[in-house]
Symmetry: C2
Subunit: 571 residues, 2 copies
């Protein structure tokens, strides 16, 4: 098509609210327009990209025997009540009532809908395994949508659900899907995506992986090992702490710590390193409001996901009231009442600790758990730290990075099928509950991630496989008859050969033309200009600057086609 | 794919709630599953059909220079407040609040979103005309969803919006789109769709057409002329009534009509035909609650759309209270107070009428409007009737039919652009408001309409262009080695030739196999069976029964390919 007719405006200015490059470039290039916080319309240029991503996803899902279906965006609350998630999921699940006052929800994921759809089909073991998927609009009422298409409220997602008669079969299929995901990201131009073990969160189940594009602007915290191939996200990364046996037992002493409340203040006042403190972090359970005090080594942070999983309950940071009997800022495990107390593994083998005395302005020193309060159970409840011990190879080589989650896969187990009473008859006529996996990819987020990974200061550098067009013709000086004639002809010829061409024949300066082309990010650019024509040639350059050559006029078409083919094969 | 692996159940029983055949067959054939009233999930078989429909629509929209975009499903109420529709549209617009208590709506149409998207792009006349479209999920909170996919609450729709600098340009583009719609319906296998002039309803604007599949199970009432090509829907059809001049003036008399309230009762009691009655129908205005009495000839029905358009106000049938001062059942134009009064054209030239006396148990006879209450204005406010006068050719040849609306196109005018303050600079530097058209097609409803138009008692008869698969192989007696070998090979060969094949190699009776095939409605069926194999041939039959022949084993592939090609060309 002609660029002049492409709907959408391009801007020089970086939008004020854009914190990351992909957001800024997608606004500047006329890819998206915000309609409300975290809600965007897509212009044609982005729709062309997402359609190509969707095609890649469909091909790979079909290749692993997926069958495309379509679930509704609006679902009755009753479906989510069956699984228990209507109550357990927070405000990100948008709840409302229809004209008959029936409670409804906007789909943010479709486990319930998938079980509802295949409940009758999956009544005998012979039907298994099977997988269904859809590409559909979802809504998640995020508290803080940000970063353009990276964290939005409304988004297009491919979500897939597989059903199995055994855990082994689920695992085998999970593996197939894992590899399909690797192919999808590679084909979409993001071979650098890595997979990390993840926590399954509200989804239920045990084994889960996230597919992550490592980038400093990512929202997820990723733990990798510099010495082996260990990879997990922060929620799931096991924290290993080995404390040197404390050789000398210090006596327990209560000391006054005037004005010192934080771990740093107390340790500073007492002149000890923070590792010698027993930090106490307080949460409340969402269901009962009951207090939970988590004790861990002073240099570590609590991992709320781990605490949540251990308690099997939703928690939130506590609001300590006067009636609670808790001495905020001076909490410690000795003589603590009014709260459940948990000990992180990082306290195992410690001694000579400082800890709160549950009394305003007082701490203990010389605290040794076993001696002073008896043996306790230790659980992994803390976040790992940079340079921490790798749970796989044992080396102190953990690296903490940031990343964008572009996909995730979960072994759900029977949580949904069981809650919704889905059953099949096995070989021996026994009724059993199937086990499930689920597999998600956000289409718009993937497009934005490709842009985030592949751009320069002038615009996105789209890979050939998902580029909005394969070739851009820049007709510099379209008012020159010879130039225009050749460019027009080239446009026709390339299209005839099945090449997707965007043709810029506007009468604008070469500067405007090239900066617009940079924002469109089309992989191959052909420059037709009076100077080139005089030399009987065109310039052919790639957006990533790896190719820049002149081709004789008679060879431009074949040269471009060859280049497009080569660039397609790279992926 | 193998039928054995196709997800979805097929049933013999007609579902109790299915009032029309397409609904029953789509449930019985495993095409859809209800999730809530008017909300369905689609199985793979329907998804394959709708994807083909979507492809046809995309091709035709692109062919008239449409650019595909994507608007959000969830929009801020503020966008709909700008156009005024947040207040004017009824409960079918689903309103709710998000987690921050911001009022939001679910998109049922996207005029506002389209203006928001192109407001900056369309600032100079050189950009015009242009058209954007999307294929996206919509939600319309229908009071009475019914008839399967014909009237649902959630649906996938193609909606398009065009922008123009003159009414002439809009009309020219409207014409192009009109023809694109004809091509879409023809290509999707519904050449019998007709266009009718329609009322533009809540959309604003004047000229509008609906594309209608005539069928007794349709919800829309369509008026056609048996003598010319006049076509309109009931809302828009002009009602022409010519009353013979009443030669003799009867005196106005007040008569007691004990117990007679309806027109039929009163006329029966008085021994006069209903055409000699002046019927009074009462409405209330939605905004003020004020009463409106519409007077029309006793044999006609009021057309609420016409009344609404005349009043430029929403109305609903009145609830007559004691305080209103209106004598329910005895209303008439003489000495009526407490209500606005409108006269339908059907009363023009009448005399000797009976009408209510605005007093319980009393009517007038001999009523003649001009003489008894003075000259009044007449407006077209009634529905046309079967055999009525055609407004185009004047013959008493109007035919009233039922139909399903499968698409609609509207000349919107500047209603939205103006309300949302969209402006462009024209050639002479003057700021002007663009004019718009909008163009919709419901994808699921189109699929259901094709089924409604093309089915028999055993199942749908899908046209080749949108069929879920092109060919079905029925391997009767798959336990016979020779039969299976040939069928397996045929399956491979046809797929290799690019034919979409569904392969039934289940070990089930021929009866089960054929009735399942009928429900799938695949256009070409190849039957491989021991009996056929003995004759060294296969049976090739079409679902519509127009072809039934035997082909030698060596010629099956070429014969099937030829047939698929021919059937593709028919459309």
């Amino acid at each position: 098509m002609k660029l002049d007719k492409l709907i959408g405006e391009r801007y020089k200015e970086k939008p004020a609210d854009a914190m990351i490059d992909s957001h800024a470039l997608m606004v500047r290039g006329g890819y998206i327009k915000q309609v409300a916080g975290g809600i965007f319309s897509s212009y044609t240029i982005l729709r062309r990209i997402t359609q190509k991503i969707e095609r890649i996803i469909r091909e790979e899902m079909d290749a692993i025997d997926g069958q495309e279906v379509l679930f509704p965006v609006v679902m009755p609350a009753s479906l989510w009540q069956e699984s228990g998630r209507y109550e357990s999921v927070g405000k990100e699940l948008l709840r409302f009532t229809d004209r008959n006052d029936t409670p409804m929800v906007l789909g943010m994921t479709h486990e319930e809908a998938s079980v509802q759809l295949v409940k009758e089909y999956g009544q005998t073991y012979t039907k298994y395994p099977f997988m269904i998927y859809q590409i559909q609009t979802k809504f998640r009422d995020e508290a803080r949508p940000r970063a353009g298409l990276i964290r939005v409220r409304e988004f297009t997602m491919k979500d897939a659900y597989s059903f199995h008669t055994s855990h082994e079969d689920l695992e085998a299929y999970y593996e197939r899907c894992y590899h399909a995901y690797e192919r999808i990201f590679r084909r979409a131009g993001l071979p650098e995506v890595i997979s990390v073990a993840s926590d399954s969160g509200m989804m239920g189940g045990k084994v889960a992986h996230e597919f992550i594009l490592l980038t400093p602007v990512g929202e997820d915290t990723i733990v990798t090992c510099g010495a082996c191939d260990y990879r997990a996200n922060m929620e799931a990364a096991e924290n290993i702490v080995i404390n040197a046996e404390s050789s000398r037992l210090e006596p327990l002493e209560k000391v006054r710590t005037p004005g010192a409340k934080t771990i740093e203040e107390v340790c500073g006042y007492l002149g000890i390193p923070v590792e010698k403190a027993c930090k106490a972090v307080v949460y409340q359970k969402a269901a009962t409001g009951g207090y939970v005090v988590v004790c861990l080594r002073g240099d570590l942070e609590a991992n709320e996901t781990k605490i949540r999983n251990y308690l099997r309950d939703e928690i939130y940071p506590a609001a300590i009231t006067g009636e609670s009997g808790l001495a905020a800022g001076f909490l410690g495990p000795i003589n603590l009442s009014g709260a459940e107390i948990l000990f992180d593994s990082s306290l195992k083998g410690t001694g000579g600790l400082c800890c709160g005395a549950n009394e305003d302005e007082f701490h203990y020193t010389g605290f040794q758990i076993g001696r002073d309060i008896g043996e306790v159970e230790y659980h992994d409840l803390a976040k790992v730290i940079e340079g921490g011990l790798c749970p796989k190879c044992g080396h102190p080589a953990l690296i903490i990075s940031r990343g964008i989650e572009v996909g995730n896969i979960f072994q759900l187990g029977d949580k949904y099928a069981n809650a919704m009473n889905m059953r099949y008859t096995d070989e021996s006529g026994v009724m059993r509950c199937p086990t499930m996996g689920c597999y998600g990819i956000g289409v718009g987020r993937l497009a934005a991630s490709v842009c985030e990974a592949h751009h320069d200061q002038y615009g996105p550098i789209w890979p050939m496989s998902i580029a909005p067009w394969q070739v851009q013709i820049c007709c510099v000086r379209a008012d020159d008859v010879k130039v225009r004639e050749f460019a027009d002809e080239l446009y026709g010829k390339l299209q005839k050969e099945g090449i997707e061409v965007i043709y810029d024949d506007r009468i604008v300066s070469a500067g405007v033309m090239f900066s617009d082309a940079d924002l469109l990010g089309v992989p191959v650019r052909v420059i037709v200009s009076p100077r080139n024509m005089k030399d009987d040639c065109c310039e052919i350059v790639t957006r990533d600057k790896t190719v820049s050559r002149k081709a004789k006029l008679g060879e431009v078409v074949s040269s471009v086609m060859e280049l497009v083919k080569t660039m397609n094969n790279i992926q």
